[in-house]
Symmetry: C2
Subunit: 220 residues, 2 copies
């Protein structure tokens, strides 16, 4: 399998974690969002929306991270990333969608560009916008996370796959996370695991040699 990825893309980061947790072999093909490579004809052949990630398997190009993750879980069921119980699975999916629908889309690069360009907002207004949606979402998330271990129990799964990249993103935009000790502790536990380390933006082939957290937004 080949993953079209951008090191800082949250959605690509999710899929990298899942591929690693399942122990699957894959190659990373960087798509430089900052340089606009996602709009090239050659990339749009795989992904007509011009978004990352795209997972190519055989002759198929799969798009949209949530759809890719569900497909991975169906095709490579072990280790399971969802709980076996249907109601618990629904609860985990709700946490994932809280991140995927209620936080991340509002803070995507194309949206921040629109705020600055078409709406003429300055850097401060954009940072407040970014922080507003993260804090609203994380406030709902915090109370639903465990104090120890992981959402599914002893091993990380889909919830962590969505949450960890969103935290990375929030810290890059200097959102204060002091009110979210469970969220931070969950991330700290994940960061100890090779599947998460290998998926981290700083470990990607397209990461700059030095990529400090505060080097500014260029793709979310």
């Amino acid at each position: 399998m080949q993953l079209y990825s951008y090191f800082r893309s949250s959605a690509a980061y999710r899929v990298r974690i899942a591929l690693n947790l399942k122990g699957l072999d894959y190659g990373v093909i960087p798509v430089n969002l900052a340089a606009g490579e996602q709009r090239s004809d050659s990339y749009r052949r795989h992904n007509p929306q011009g978004l990352v990630p795209t997972l190519v398997t055989g002759n198929e190009a799969l798009t949209q991270s949530t759809a890719i993750l569900e497909w991975l879980e169906e095709e490579y069921p072990e280790p399971a990333l969802y709980p076996r119980d249907a109601l618990l699975r629904a609860q985990v999916r709700a946490l994932c969608q809280l991140v995927a629908c209620d936080i991340h889309p509002l803070n995507n690069l194309r949206v921040l560009k629109y705020l600055k360009g078409e709406l003429g907002q300055d850097e401060d207004a954009v940072r407040l916008w970014y922080a507003h949606w993260v804090i609203e979402g994380f406030t709902a998330l915090e109370s639903r996370l465990p104090e120890e271990a992981f959402v599914n129990g002893e091993a990380p799964g889909m919830a962590e796959i969505f949450i960890v990249p969103q935290i990375y993103n929030a810290e890059r935009f200097a959102v204060a996370l002091g009110d979210f000790p469970r969220i931070r502790a969950l991330r700290d536990r994940c960061d100890l695991l090779p599947a998460f380390q290998k998926a981290h933006p700083s470990a990607q082939p397209d990461a700059p040699a030095s990529s400090p957290a505060g080097s500014g937004p260029s793709g979310t």
Copy 2:
């Protein structure tokens, strides 16, 4: 089952269609988003985020429409709303997520309120914002829809469950849909079916006696 719903909420509309397509019996409990009922303590006991929909089954309250829809498909597999083939299923989920992640979150009521309030944007700027994300998403969607029948073939399924409410929403905001003949034709075919008719905002118990399409935004 009881569905906490608001007549104009796209996410609640999705779940109503699915419940109807599966022939399930359910009651609708209206939550008046325009009056702020979603922020009441009594509602937040079911849905801590204060969003609709919530589906209550037994002692469980399920939140986030995508999670609810996946649960319905798992628990009530007939009629199937996804294709049987895993790759086709991934493609349908990608269409659903295109609506759920790339269009709808940007045009949600809370976002439009932020644009008007915190960012001081006028009605025209908000309408342009709304139309921008709909048109970007629908442009990607249009070429991926069939000219006849439904995305899954002879019967509507998850793709139509996400697309039809988004069209209703777009028309309410007077977005010009002339460039999207397949999207409009798909909606017209769905509108002939009782499952879609019964789920329509105008057929809900909380719909005003007369609810013209142009009566302005109060909940998406």
